[in-house]
């Protein structure tokens, strides 16, 4: 048992989460929250020394489950998750909530375990575990988050069920081999798997749970949520569908459409959720391209994205922690009271917009370059369009409306120290990952295909990227000056979730109303029929005089008789 727990770094974190659920002392819980991911990271480090020896499998009910499988693809995901865990632990240090602590650990542990899972059944277990534990974080967001949590859970359970169904179909077609490796779309199980992963990864039309649930979670909850679920799904895609052409186009669309929603959305945490979706699009596109460079780009951009997206969510969380809102229309001018948060947010915004010397510059460009090498011109154009869009919603809109813009008059305290430390660390990482003298080289040395050479700091790359960014900034300044840059207005923006939150609900209400009407009519008809047929029979079957209210023994007896007739009829037919 003990060697099973020690086999996979994620199990340690899950175990720590279970321990946390029982620990009443907040300080010890926080220490565990911090130490568990560090220890897991150390375990990943030791496991990478001999990747074959780290493999661990058990047999459950005749089915071999590979609980631990280490390779370079899994390694970087594991490291990134542990890093995110450490940052989240520091960020959430001020919060005394047992449920958040333990579910955060279990959730993180499930994500790490899922990354190191060697077969689809094991993956399914942690897939579901991640969903169930993370919904607690959503529910911690207050009254309003409860229905969102239910929707979140329903969608994720659906994803899990599809994953299991797809895995079983795939395994059957594969002769009972459930190995979590390349699947492709050749067999129908693969399609189900793709949909299951697509739901969790926020494919277009399947993405709404992100924007629905994340902004409604608690402050720390949103930060934690943003790091793991979609990234686990991305890992699964990178593992099972690298080089699937369909993903290129899905990814390209995914980069573009959230841009339009982000620009009109008022809730800045929801803007960041759209931005998250958009960044995932880059990575999905990279997986679709599937070349060694593209896969490297995916892994590198994942590492950068977890950090800078976490940083942005953290800064918005800090603002919300102090002001109580994250709505652009209510905020503004906060650089006067939260200068450190402003600086960190700007670093995050610069990173996501891919300024040189900030992390996305060295990572996103790998994916774009890979698209260029593959001569996918339309896709390339879409990615560049999306890059300009990123500059708008994350690079300019989020910091501008929060910290600059017109002064909202809100004078609050600077964020708590622990939040500042977490944001500071994340900012340092954002810079370090793009540091031309040893920084990005370190990041590249962790990528799945270390032999591929790519150097981000070439003249033409820096120049073209700066052209793009300066042009965007110029456009911003120009539009602002001539007064066509839209102000933020409070509103609920419709997205695809309208289909199930409004349309589906209304259809259900309509069906319910129709059903009530129908059953009333049927009831009336039945009553009239029975009345006209014979009062005697009516009274015979129902001594109390109410056939509908307390169904008498007569009805089951009649049913029994009819079942017998049916069975005998079937038997008779079988003899024909």
């Amino acid at each position: 048992m003990i060697d099973m727990i020690l086999s996979n770094p994620g199990f340690i974190i899950i175990l720590a989460g279970v321990v946390c659920a029982l620990l009443p002392v907040s300080q010890i819980r926080k220490a565990i929250l911090l130490i568990a991911p560090i220890f897991a990271g150390y375990m990943i480090y030791t496991a990478t020394k001999d990747m074959e020896a780290a493999r661990f499998a058990v047999s459950v009910g005749g089915q071999e489950l590979t609980l631990m499988r280490m390779d370079r693809l899994a390694m970087i995901w594991g490291y990134v998750f542990c890093l995110a865990g450490v940052l989240n632990a520091i960020y959430g240090f001020h919060e005394k909530c047992k449920i958040t602590d333990s579910s955060a650990l279990i959730y993180m542990g499930a994500a790490v375990s899922g990354v190191f899972a060697g077969d689809f059944l094991t993956l399914f277990i942690f897939w579901e575990m991640a969903a169930i534990s993370s919904v607690m974080l959503v529910w911690k967001g207050g009254e309003k988050s409860f229905p969102a949590g239910i929707r979140y859970l329903a969608i994720h359970v659906l994803s899990g069920v599809l994953l299991l169904a797809g895995a079983v179909m795939y395994g059957r077609a594969n002769g009972g081999d459930f190995t979590f490796g390349y699947v492709g779309l050749e067999n129908p199980g693969g399609c189900l798997l793709l949909i299951a992963m697509g739901i969790k990864c926020g494919f277009p039309f399947l993405h709404n749970w992100i924007q629905d649930a994340y902004p409604k979670a608690s402050i720390t909850g949103t930060v934690i949520l943003s790091a793991f679920t979609t990234k686990l799904a991305l890992y699964a895609l990178a593992r099972a569908f690298p080089g699937t052409d369909l993903l290129i186009y899905i990814g390209a669309i995914m980069t573009c459409f959230p841009v339009f929603f982000a620009v009109i959305e008022n809730d800045l945490r929801r803007v960041l959720s759209y931005s998250l979706n958009n960044q995932l699009g880059f990575m999905v596109c990279g997986i679709g391209l599937g070349s060694e460079l593209a896969m490297n780009g995916v892994a590198a951009h994942l590492a950068a994205d977890v950090i800078f997206k976490g940083l942005l969510f953290m800064s918005m969380g800090a603002v919300m922690f102090r002001t109580g809102t994250a709505k652009a229309s209510e905020l503004g001018g906060l650089f006067r009271s939260m200068p450190y948060t402003t600086i960190f947010c700007l670093i995050g915004a610069g990173s996501i917009a891919a300024f040189p010397l900030l992390s996305a510059f060295v990572t996103k460009s790998m994916i774009i370059t890979a698209a260029l090498y593959e001569h996918e011109w339309i896709v390339l154009a879409m990615l560049l369009f999306a890059s300009a869009g990123v500059m708008e919603h994350s690079g300019i809109k989020v910091p501008y409306f929060t910290f600059f813009s017109h002064d909202s008059g809100k004078r609050v305290k600077e964020a708590p120290v622990n939040m500042l430390v977490a944001m500071g660390l994340a900012s340092i990482l954002c810079i370090f990952f793009a540091w031309p003298w040893g920084g990005y080289q370190f990041l590249y040395s962790l990528l799945p295909n270390p032999e591929v050479h790519y150097s981000p700091y070439t003249g033409n790359h820096v120049v073209t990227q700066m052209q793009l960014l300066f042009a965007a900034m110029f456009a911003f300044a120009l539009l602002k000056r001539i007064g066509v840059y839209p102000d933020e207005k409070r509103a609920e923006i419709l997205d695809f979730d309208w289909t199930y939150r409004r349309l589906g609900k209304n259809i259900a209400i309509w069906i319910d109303a129709m059903w009530t009407r129908l059953s009333a009519n049927v009831g009336r008809l039945r009553k009239r029929f029975i009345d006209s047929a014979s009062d005697k029979i009516y009274h015979m079957f129902s001594p109390a005089g109410a056939l509908s209210s307390a169904a008498p023994s007569g009805l089951p007896a009649v049913l029994t008789g009819s079942m017998l007739v049916l069975t005998l009829f079937v038997i008779y037919l079988s003899r024909l």
Partner: protein, 103 residues
Amino acid sequence: MAKHENAPANDEDIHPLSRKLLFLGDHKFIDNFIWLPIIGLVITVMAGFIYPFPEGYAAPWDFFASWAILGFIAYSFVVLSAGPLFKLLARDESYYGEGGDDD
């Protein structure tokens, strides 16, 4: 012209570090901010002649200042699309019956 039009009534509320940054809220700064990207654009477009894409690694539309133009068009398109999109998609905050206020 008032030096700090947006300055708060109570100066003590301002974070010590921000006192040095108050120029960011200044009208002069905001009005002249546009020169920063303009200068940047000029420099980088010029630099584009010095660092062209290697042969065969350029997009088919690659020409003089193409990335800058693409960036400008894309950005403006996104921002300008916000108006009609907002008209199309925005609803009252209590549309889903959950209310829009943060607790």
